[in-house]
Amino acid sequence: MNATATPPRRGNRADAATAGRAHAAPRADRRAWDPAGVAPIVAAAALALAALPAGFVGVAPNRLVSGVPRGLWEAAGPGGCLALAMLAAALAGLALTGAAAASDTTPCRRQATLRAGLIAALAAGIVVLLVALAGAAAHAAVAADSGGGGRTRVSLGAAFWVWLSLALLVFAGALRRVPPLPARAALIAALAAALLLLAGAGAITDLSLAREFAVNRAGWVDAAGRHLLLVGGGLLVALPIGGALGGWAQVRPGRGTGAFAVLNLLQTIPSIALFALLIGPLTALANAVPALRGLGFGGIGAFPAIIALALYALLPVARGVEAALRAVPAAAVAAGRGMGMTRLQLLAGVVLPLALPTLLRMLRVVVVQLVGLAVLGALIGAGGLGGFIFRGLGQTAADLVLLGALSTILLAVAAHLLIGALIALLDPEPAR
């Protein structure tokens, strides 16, 4: 296989898709796509085509009944279809030539980077176009149904979601092959700006998702803030405790196993159960110490949610801190000590800077995990974006559920990108 000729690189998304051959050949080059990379492209194209008969949007007379699917042709018209088809064809062509070009490996690094940038831009274009087409279709449907008294609902259909996911996957995958950080940041910013611009221009106001957002706008800001508060609270508790545990496990290898066993066990408790299980003991605690109640402590509300989130974060934090400390070269620490650095100087000048990249990577994982888990806080009265999801479930209002879920995902992605940017900025290695 050609991939054997290319140097192994870490973290290739394409590998996950073709995990089967990971044993047979070293991982594919980060910049160039090997011919075996054609398989995922073909699979993606097939999936995209298969979704064609599915509904692009669904139109319902009101919020409570499910909509009638409308295909792409019907919803977007020939112009929209043509634009989308052209972008998709260009993307597929570029990806395929990229896969073929991998046989002459390294000399065309710049070219591969350029191609990846183009692929990312095309994928971003598809995302924006999909949203714009859906918005336009919604606008048309609402306008056509003037007798409906504005109750007409236009939801996003299965085909939309399939294509959006594919486009975003391609976008994220291509981004990894664009090494210069500013270029990467610019691509992400451009996509975000284009979507915001669409929304700001009122191009998607008639989509039911946008309607739900408009109705809940004030509540949404509160919920998002509350969500962040829960995550921040969980971190505030978990970081010092988990950090101390991880540090202890690193200094005394072997001793930490007991503590880690308990934390491992904690991880296995289903999250919903943990949130519910805490209600009892924490209510009892608040009853026993009424002073705590005045501070907002109790069996329900933000307090138990923060505790539950902290408990979940404890294991990854402790493990991450342990791994980060282990990654600090022992010889550097010994040399620093031998030259007369104080404990503090050693910690601040040597240990922390060398552990920081690993620590931030741990933090990124934990934050993303907690943003997702915090949704459950709504179940025990802690509020947060989960509120929309559970309210939507109760009312069988799929768009409300979607609003909550999408907001959570957006929050997680934003956190991921932000911490990722920090990691990249702190990288002590000069650019290669």
């Binding site: 550097a332 030259m339 007369g340 650095m341 104080t342 800077p353 002590p428």
Partner: protein, 306 residues
């Protein structure tokens, strides 16, 4: 002056250093030699208190090291760690400046010192801006030595400082170290597996095995009368005699009552080099001239006489 008095240190069941007593006078270069695991590195780390002894004590300039504030003590002792241990996130210049910065030197003085040290260990000024991973192993080691020398410590503890350096550079580094030592009177404790390096640099050789000191003597004395068969084997076995030639110079064996024709040798030439020249020229006698300008002759018989 460094005095080790009945120093002992165990790690579990192994006795890394066992009742070690050794006096290293001020300005001496003491080379600790011995097989792997003999306790040489442990002895160094007992001196700068990276580990504390189970028994015995270390006196530095007559003061009990255990009574001195540990951080201040270590800043007085330059330390070259066996595994180099450069700080990977700092540039070479910043690495070298470690102790001067700890001591709060003024910025310009540090910059000047760094430049001086880079030249001293044979690195280019441009290397100062690089990161350790951008240097070769031997270059990294030289940075480690420069870092230890930076604040002109009164004692230098060096654990295999030149192990990864090529022979030519190693020689020039050894010369540089000798120069510095002669200029500043630094006391040096050097761990090395390179017998020739030990012979070239050391005023005292200390042979350790299994944590115990077996013999401490001048290079010449140890070569002339190794205290155990192990030492004899360690110093070269059947070739020990050739090493012995390194410890004496031509002047001591020259007959100044005679003269011979030809380009005269320097009286400071070590005897092994005298033999090498005889072999190269196919002769058994060579002319010698000493610093005072006296001329003489050295013969092969004079060289091998004890």
């Amino acid at each position: 002056m460094i005095e080790l008095e009945h120093l002992s240190r165990r790690f579990g069941a192994t006795s890394a250093v066992d009742d070690l007593s050794l006096t290293i006078p001020r300005g001496d270069i003491c080379a600790l030699i011995g097989p792997s695991g003999a306790g040489k590195s442990t002895a160094l780390r007992l001196i700068n208190r990276l580990i504390e002894p189970d028994g015995g004590r270390v006196l530095i300039g007559g003061e009990d090291a255990a009574r001195l504030p540990v951080v201040a003590l270590r800043r007085r002792l330059g330390y070259v760690i066996q595994s180099v241990g450069l700080f990977p996130h700092w540039t070479v210049a910043r690495n070298i400046a470690t102790v001067p910065r700890l001591l709060g030197w003024e910025r310009r003085r540090i910059a000047r010192r760094v430049e001086e040290l880079l030249a001293l260990v044979g690195l280019e000024p441009a290397h100062g801006g690089r990161y350790p991973h951008q240097l070769s192993g031997g270059q990294q080691q030289r940075v480690g030595v420069a870092r230890a020398l930076a604040a002109e410590p009164e004692v230098l503890l060096m654990d295999e400082p030149f192990g990864a350096v090529d022979p030519l550079t190693r020689r020039s580094l050894q010369d540089a170290l000798k120069d510095i030592q002669a200029r500043t009177g630094t006391t040096i404790v050097l761990v090395t597996h390179d017998i020739d390096e030990a012979l070239r640099l050391a005023t005292t050789l200390a042979f350790l095995t299994g944590g115990r000191l077996v013999q401490a003597a001048t290079p010449h004395a140890m070569l002339a009368a190794p205290a155990s068969p192990e030492i004899a084997a360690f110093l070269g076995g059947p070739r020990l005699g050739l090493r012995l030639l390194q410890t004496a110079t031509a002047g001591a064996r020259t007959d100044f009552s005679r003269t011979a024709a030809g380009e005269p040798l320097d009286a400071d030439t070590p005897l092994d080099e005298v033999v090498a020249r005889m072999v190269a020229a196919g002769v058994t006698a060579l002319p010698v001239r000493d610093r005072a300008g006296r001329a003489g002759v050295i013969t092969l018989a004079d060289v091998v006489a004890r």
